[in-house]
Amino acid sequence: MSIAPEWYLALAAGLFTMGAIGLLIRRNVLVMFMCVELMLNAVNLTFVTFARTLDDINGQVAVFFVLVVAAAEVVVGLGIIVAIFRRRADATADDLHLLKG
């Protein structure tokens, strides 16, 4: 018998919480981005857990698409960060409150 799904779900909830806290307390844009990845991973873990528990492969299909969207999101997000850093020398999110280039 393998580990009960509750444990995986609790772990995923903890991981999601840590990602959310990190997103709120950090000021570095890159680290905030990494915290978003942590939250995505937590949700992926719950998807896989439910796929196993309910014996349904579609949960894993959802994770597949989340992975693709995460990759695209990181590419565009880091492109935006590089474009911002080219104009401004500062690294913190607080300095980006002006919406004009």
Binding site: I25, V48, R86, R87
Partner: protein, 196 residues
Amino acid sequence: MLPQILAATYVDSFTFGVCAVIVLAGAAGVILARNPVHSALMLVMTLFGVAVLFVAQEAHFLAAVQVIVYAGAIVVLFLFVIMLIGVDRVEDTSQEPLRGQRVAAAVVGLLTLLMVVFLARSSGWVTGASAALPPGNPGEDRENVELLGRAIFTDWILAFEVTSLLLVIAVVGAVVLAKKPPAPLAGREEPDGVRR
């Protein structure tokens, strides 16, 4: 709850325990590390832990993709950008723009965690019916990759094609964003005078 995890085999329990520690320690490292490079390396640790948990739940294909795409591509992209814009920028954590925001964020986060766990505990962690058996001869043990491939290329073929469109758009967008901006008009200064 405890008898359940004790009923699991020794190897399963050990794997889960070690991976849970790795995942949570990596997440804490991402949050707490001063240097963004250390955060990225801690992120790799968390991603590996999640990949092992995928294997433990028989999602072999996703575990491989997790390592290849996340640890192999996304984190390397992060490191590239960190190197590009410089690692010597130390985040100034001494000043808080909003007073008490960090403490409030941590408290609210923990409360949210407690609420989720409490709700799940009081009304059941997993609800819903099991899916019908996947297509194929009954009793035949099918590989995870085969099942996933069949699902993606039959039921979810439209979503799969839209995914390719999304990737093309992302690539074009990244190229456009990364292009050097056109030279400013003569006599026009940058607002903050910073050109890099």
